[in-house]
Symmetry: C3
Subunit: 184 residues, 3 copies
């Protein structure tokens, strides 16, 4: 391995370094130290930096977004305390989703065969009504489908089908969320 020859020039942050640093500064100040209930203010700041944020979204002040312009969050979804959206690639969250505290959505990895340790990024998609409970780690490229649930402290390394509850490290099928006759 020759990490000193690391080259991720193919990858674009999509914004200039000035914008990136400005966002990190604002995230660490105006965003981080806003009062608990100032959800509209934080949605405003995120939109200002290019995030697509629906109506009624509740993002806690301690949540962190690496590049907000690569993030989209649908109506009424919640982003909990200390959640990290490591958005080197797109993170697309539907409506009525809950991402609970301490969870980490990781869109970046490296090519372990490449002697120069090339950067790999893949999008993460979380569909309507899904719940990612506390301290869950989601791998790059994963899709969590409609109404799925991931139990607290799980590690999600592959897609979770709609309406299924997964748990563990790696997360595996536990049960259906709703039975056939419970689905309206």
């Amino acid at each position: 391995m020759h990490v000193y020859k690391y080259n991720h020039s193919w990858h674009s942050r999509e914004k200039s370094n000035i914008i990136v640093l400005l966002w990190w500064f604002i995230q660490g100040t105006l965003f981080r130290f806003s009062l608990h209930n100032m959800y509209r203010w934080r949605s405003f700041l995120l939109r200002l930096f290019g995030a697509k944020i629906g109506k009624g979204v509740k993002v806690r002040a301690s949540a962190k977004f690496t590049y907000p312009w690569k993030v989209s969050i649908g109506d009424y979804s919640w982003i909990g305390d200390n959640v990290k959206l490591y958005s080197l690639d797109e993170i697309i969250i539907g409506s009525n989703c809950v991402i609970s505290q301490e969870s980490y959505l990781c869109t970046g990895s490296h090519d372990i065969k490449d002697p120069y340790f090339g950067l790999i990024t893949k999008p993460i998609v979380i569909k309507d009504g899904a719940w990612i409970a506390s301290d869950v780690f989601v791998y790059p490229g994963v899709t969590i489908h409609e109404m799925a649930v991931v139990a607290a402290r799980s590690t999600v390394v592959r897609d979770v089908p709609a309406n299924e509850v997964h748990a563990g490290s790696p997360a595996k099928f536990v049960k259906k969320r709703f039975e056939e006759d419970e689905l309206l």
Copy 2:
């Protein structure tokens, strides 16, 4: 799911919003930036906000308590760096317990069958002489019995019997801590 109709009105923080915000402010300032060895000062602040704290308790400055008035800690117990007591419900810690750094005691969950995603809370009990090692995640409703040990980075989803060592995600029985003839 209709997260926008989320209703947790049955749940009581037991204190007014002013007291909650005041605690969070003090936790982020006078508590957080107290010097390493000012254990008595931090116990004083916790007691001021209704926590029951025994004698000789050592809580590190970076530990976080959501609602201290729902927490009880027995004599000589330690709470390590960055431990989070997410005390929506009671957290009852015995005497001579150690909760090591980065661990998370989570008393809150949600009803995944409820279209309004109703809040569920259950107490966590940690009995005398138990050791929760670093970066352990404890689920709502769990009791960890006398002298039990949970290995570092485990996820505790069910009760741990007295004098047993559990490890893994989910944490499972590994061995007895003391053999019969070692118990005094």
Copy 3:
């Protein structure tokens, strides 16, 4: 258990309390709030407090070192955001290593048979070209050998042989990183 009789007098921090507190103060200020690209400045501060830091090393500003004088990092290695080097004992990192964000290298434990809960410390060794991905927890005494890879969110409780990819909690063998004919 008699935590109040806890005695770790055998263990030496190797520096006076003044130096320890001074380091923690500098780490929380000059180190923590240095600009993103000031890698040389952070290497300078670490060396000032006794760390052996090679050339071209990149340590992020949010990384934390308990006692830098017990840490050695070889040429061109990277230490990511929020990585914690809990260096009660030695942490020896080779060259061209990557320790990704949120990982925790834990050199401390306790003797669970000892009624006074005696401190145990063991070194951690990470050899040339190894990659510890995001949010990995490494147990005391573990050696991760040349060119090994530990997948994100794993828990490493025993040694990882050279050129192997391990994943899970506890981390287990998944595959070889390079096949025989790929090794140059």
